[in-house]
């Protein structure tokens, strides 16, 4: 069966510091991968998606970036964090069919102070 991992689970970082969040998927190959941010425990905002290694699309302009160095690894990064980057970051994967479900990881709680 497929599993999705995210780490760290929680992170407290000062403003201006760098960020690296990692997501890995097991038990599948060539998944579509997604990064979401959830602010204030509610709505989900799609940040990035990837349909293959090195293929990243951004949904919103921001000081975050994403990379996919391996088939089942998706990394969210920032060079300098802002207060507004605080939130709950969720990684998800799906197979490539239009009917396929997105499955979410456990999330990373980021607090920028």
């Amino acid at each position: 069966s497929q599993t999705i991992h995210q780490w760290p689970a929680t992170l407290v970082q000062p403003v201006g510091s760098p960020l690296s969040l990692e997501c890995t998927v097991e038990g599948t190959s060539n998944p579509n991968l997604y990064w979401y941010r959830q602010a204030a425990g509610r709505g989900l905002q799609l940040l990035f998606y990837s349909v293959g290694i090195g293929q990243i699309s951004s949904e919103v302009p921001q000081n975050l970036s994403a990379s996919r160095p391996q088939d089942r690894q998706f990394i969210l990064s920032s060079k300098k964090l802002l207060l507004s980057d605080s939130g709950f970051y969720l990684c998800a994967w799906s197979a490539s069919s239009r009917t396929d479900t997105q499955y979410f990881g456990p999330g990373t709680r980021l607090t920028v102070l």
Binding site: Q6, Y49, S97, R98
Partner: protein
Amino acid sequence: AQSVAQPEDQVNVAEGNPLTVKCTYSVSGNPYLFWYVQYPNRGLQFLLKYITGDNLVKGSYGFEAEFNKSQTSFHLKKPSALVSDSALYFCAVRDQATDSWGKFQFGAGTQVVVTP
């Protein structure tokens, strides 16, 4: 363009009573519809989906949802709510006409509170 609305921020229900969480959608083509549940500080868990076929879809934990094309709705239901059903519920839609990478449009979420 695709959109989804969850008109209720919060639904309160007594344990043992029926639970309904409302969702309406708008797509240019035919919809793929999904329900997820989120417990505090956890990721979203998939409950059920409608792709095609029978309008009544059964999912995990005793939940079901009914696809109504004329009313463009996909309400989530459970005949008898449990205190453990207290959580945040999300409806999501994909238009069949979208790209294969599968962008979902999520609703704003409905907080369900089940009281003993």
